[in-house]
Symmetry: C2
Subunit: 327 residues, 2 copies
């Protein structure tokens, strides 16, 4: 018995150490690119595809600015940030999502994000204690869905079918991702994300290049540069709105000038105003491996970052191990 | 940047597929051995160490029978099974743990398992709804701790210090693991488990060999064979007590004649009365990868098992991907 699936080249990237041994190891791939698509650093094969998942949200929010919907509805930067968020469903997140919907003359009933308990445990516990089930607004993606709906209202697109890959909004998003990342549209692969809208797959290098462009505006046509700047600034000025209490995206944006967005299955997208983008994928999809690997890689790029090694605690509060970068 | 930590050889073992692509991949190591230590099947390096974690619980329960404590206190097979469990904290589990404690003239206050919310979500929700925090009895390890305490009472060992690696009970457990697995004692490495008792690391091959012996009694001295049979039968006759509703260990024992015990960081121990043991470790510690890999490997061993591929559902109930074995 021996597995061999012709899988993309990756490398050990984070490890969990217990006592004298490495107990578990996470492999990953990483590319750092400039806006011209030059690979500055890499781990594994930068040409192999990853699903960007929620790390694509800043791209998915571009039509909100480009269509004029953000201006027409008077959306605030906090609201733009929550439209790019995988949020904790803390009260400020819910308030911002509600506000986007109200401004577009919609209600929570229009949201088709699907429902899951708030990512932030105290808010999840509140709902459980109240005997309430989660509603679509509690989904970490509800800001993205509210933003998509606002574009539909502004453009006169059908709102009921906005999740359909053939809906004009979804076509527009696909075009934009391809354009910003410098790929032909048919090179961006589409599948279904868990919240029911398209999920996009593209080579790590292209995604990193797109992040460099999104953050700097370099190489982009003027209108797109303006929209990218507005989205990027909204996120970087309101890190809490992009994720929330205790979340790595928020922590990292709070302490640096980077644009940071995580995605499901352990994807991390980073853009630096200094002119590079970084895309990271933990091969096995484990979120715990993202932080040490990302901090080590960012350190290599000259970013001042917190300590990459962190302790793991047992049920008696004692240290039972460490999670550490291997790059 | 390129990780290289001199890590043990493993191989792709399970994959998560979304749309046209493998989104995430899990690597692993596996050994199937007979009671003489012959490797019948393997993936990766069978000589490299793993922490057995909770998959060692059937071994950790041996002193309960060997010391005479199980007989002296009149423990039932259900109680022996919960002493080997990583249980869901459903009512039958809590009742069995309480009963062990009462029979040994102890109370919940003697348990030093640490506290975490019940693994079974409806029970966790019940506690949250009631505004209660979890107590040590809700820990998935509380049966193991109750069993350890019962041995201490029976043997006249100090109960307050039973978690200490230098406590006579912990020495005895280490000796037994070494003996059953056919290793010199100093070849079994000890670290701290999350519940505060020793965690044992040993080569995959030795652990698989120990599981073959534990399940068949082969190669073991008579007294140990008797204790192994009693523990193994208790588990196989009461699969619910070993884990609980919706758990893989329980499902697999319900539908086969195997002894099955999972452990944290994605370890699975299996013993077959037909004369082999299997030890599986997912390299990255992801539980979701255990089921497909284990079912594929068990199929290879001639066990009739359920379908190894399973669907992943999105928030709208639609299929968004599959998790499948790569071996």
């Amino acid at each position: 018995m021996r597995g061999d699936a012709g899988l993309p080249e990756d490398a050990p990237i984070s490890a969990v150490r217990r006592g004298a041994l490495v107990e578990s190891v996470h492999r990953g791939r990483l590319a750092v690119c400039d806006p011209d698509g030059e690979v500055l650093e890499s781990v594994g094969d930068p040409e192999a595809y990853i699903y960007a998942r929620s790390a694509a949200k800043p791209f998915q929010a571009l039509p909100l600015v480009l269509s004029g919907a953000a201006d027409a509805f008077g959306l605030t930067d906090r609201e733009l940030a929550v439209a790019c968020a995988s949020h904790n469903a803390e009260e400020p997140h819910l308030a911002a999502v509600r506000s986007i919907l109200e401004k577009a003359d919609l209600t929570e009933d229009d949201l088709q994000s699907g429902a899951h308990l708030p990512l932030y445990e105290p808010e999840a516990d509140n709902l459980v204690r109240g005997g309430e089930g989660p509603r679509p607004i509690h989904s970490n993606c509800s800001g993205k869905h509210a933003g998509m709906l606002a574009v539909c209202v502004h453009e006169g697109y059908e709102t009921a079918t906005y999740r359909d890959p053939d809906h004009p909004l979804q076509h527009r998003i696909l075009d934009l991702i391809a354009e910003v990342c410098g790929l032909r549209e048919d090179k961006v692969l589409v599948a279904g994300d868990n919240c029911g809208v398209p999920a996009f797959a593209l080579p790590l290098r292209s995604f990193a290049t797109g992040l460099a462009r999104l953050t700097t505006g370099d190489v982009l046509p003027d209108e797109l540069e303006g929209a990218a700047n507005r989205i990027g600034e909204a996120m970087r000025e309101h890190p809490f709105m992009v994720a929330g209490t205790g979340r790595f995206d928020t922590e990292l944006m709070d302490s640096t000038d980077l644009l940071v967005k995580g995605g499901a299955e352990a994807v991390l997208a980073v853009g630096s105003p200094e002119g590079w983008g970084m895309a990271l994928k933990i091969s096995d999809g484990s979120d715990r491996a993202v932080r040490p690997a990302a901090l080590a890689a960012l350190g290599t790029m000259g970013v001042e970052v917190p300590e990459a090694v962190s302790s793991m605690r047992g049920l008696h509060g004692e240290t039972v191990g460490e999670i550490e970068p291997l790059i």
